[in-house]
Subunit: 343 residues, 2 copies
């Protein structure tokens, strides 16, 4: 059983997840992507993973080949569904049982293919799997927030090279989400406008940080990018909830994502990266006051954050919460705009 | 000139420092530690660095061999002393000139020696250089906070292998420092006790997370460690300001640091690491109200945080502000306590 522990000085939560029980010698070699012939994410090895929760299939029964996208519980979960959400004290500290969910979305049966090279339809299927899992996990009222993310490459934290993403549902609103939700709510209450919609309009007019634009989506390098070539993808229309998007909207999103991932791959030479889907929390997440997220339909705007992992987070960043970025977002956007995608 | 830019959604500051002007091809190869024969931190190459600001010398004139510890401005500074602190608007955004200071402390003339293998006296000299630079930079009232940190190894962000640490002085209190200062101030106002002193007493009684203890210092694995084998070193006596420590106190600290660094080196096989000195801000840092840090002498407690870089910060951590740690601090402390330092 993992534990959620709170740091009273730095005011953050940590999941102490000792399922893998890592000992000093496990860290003595630089971590490598495990790339065995018997990859548990390939056709024919379905029995090596926990039973599937969801799949989009061409043919075949559950837990056999024939799937196009397959969702399974993580074999070494950071959090588990069994347990109690209530917190208890330990001296000055605060601790909870690590309840939640930790799922893996296997994005393709093709061991070698990376998302930048998926077809629009293949990316659409992955997005449909995300949507299905969001909607299902919302039925568990203990889960306050769902985090969907992808680690591509070993420097980005991937431990298997076969293309996959992960979904973690947590019993607390995480600090990064809280901050975004609070800032956008406050802005809405003052101005009766969505702060993200204002930002999108400002960026479209400024132009210098825009990487690409389709009829429905915009990709920009954020004005205060923490990392070189950091990107954000927004729907241009005001939409607070990824999970209520229809198939056509997901298909258009797939095209915008493919374009973004290809530009990164071409300009930076297939770098390691993380992307994170920032979405509104389920409506039952109402800490404090009954209408806490009541206006979320108007004040929040879902988006995707992409961070190529080109530099190390060093002592300064960890010690201060400030970031030093050696490539301006204006330069990064220009390089990505000019990418030759015909290669 | 670098810029400090504020992210209005995520509420953090970024230093856009384009002195090195990094282009996409600069990122295409995995960064390596530059380890040339002509290391600019070695004896005889003093003219390859900006002129020294401070040195502890055995012999010789400034900017010639003979030094034991040498402090120079960073050749590619994130921040510069010239400029104006006032902020201006840009659409919805907030921006300032990147004023501040960025210095490098060359800890030894020996190109190959790492701090874990320094003598107590050699570490004491490094600590004396830290103290001297803290005291000097406090004369510039524009500088609100000084961050002293060390990046050891390429995965920890070091770009030169010759042992060194860095000092960055910033015109704003960084978020990590703000949080610690606010939490400890609030605790003091409520309880008339230092929260760190309470934590130290609790940890000494609990015992399970204590790594080592001398008459003056304690090293513990924090209860809510974000990373495997994360450590904090505290003076047992209540001391808010590193910069007013006397020579004897620094010499005792050097011994505690050597012990901590050796344990990490022996147990984890010389891993990359960062350490960060968390200190009280200069007394002129009084944003808002005149006595903002008035009680800091009683409410804050300086300490050193050490993070071995054994795992990657991945999408989940970046996207949420939560951390997943696969080694409990109790296990980490036990391994480090049992380290055989006679090897």
């Amino acid at each position: 059983m993992s534990e959620l522990r709170f740091d009273i000085i730095k005011q953050h939560w940590v999941i102490i997840a000792t399922e893998r029980g890592r000992r000093p010698r496990d860290f003595q070699n630089v971590p490598k992507v495990i790339d065995t012939v018997a990859c548990p994410f390939c056709y024919g090895y379905e029995s090596k993973t926990p039973p599937e929760i969801f799949a989009i299939r061409e043919y075949g029964a559950a837990n056999t080949p024939g799937w196009k996208v397959r969702v399974i519980p993580n074999k070494y979960p950071a959090l588990r569904v069994e347990g109690d959400v209530k917190s208890r004290g330990y001296g000055l500290y605060n601790v909870r049982e690590g309840i939640g969910a930790h799922e893996v979305i296997i994005e393709t049966p093709d061991h070698k293919k990376s998302m930048a090279d998926f077809s629009q339809e293949e990316i659409t299927d992955v997005l449909k799997a995300y949507r299905a899992r969001f909607l299902d996990l919302r039925n568990d009222f203990r889960l306050r927030y769902m985090v969907l993310f992808k680690n591509h490459g070993v420097q980005a934290g991937a431990s298997l090279s076969h293309s996959h993403s992960q979904l973690i549902a947590v019993p607390l609103t995480p600090p990064v989400a809280s901050m975004e939700l609070e800032v956008s709510r406050e802005f809405y209450q003052k101005n009766e406008r969505c702060i993200f919609c204002d930002l999108i309009e400002f960026e479209l007019n400024a132009g210098v940080r825009v990487v690409s634009e389709t009829s429905d989506y915009i990709v920009t390098a954020p004005y205060a990018s923490c990392f070189p070539f950091e990107l954000r993808l927004y729907p241009k229309q005001h939409l607070h909830d990824f999970a209520v998007m229809n198939d056509m909207q997901l298909s258009n999103l797939a095209l915008a994502m493919k374009d973004m991932l290809q530009r990164i791959k071409v300009v930076l030479g297939d770098p390691p990266y993380n992307f994170i889907l920032h979405n509104s929390p389920p409506v039952h997440n109402r800490p404090g006051k009954p209408d806490y997220w009541g206006s979320i339909k108007w004040d929040y705007h879902w988006h995707i954050e992409l961070v190529p992992r080109l530099t190390q987070i060093a002592g300064f960043e960890w010690g201060t919460g400030f970031y030093i970025n050696s490539t301006s977002p204006e330069d990064a956007a220009a390089f990505l705009r000019d990418a030759d995608l015909s290669l």
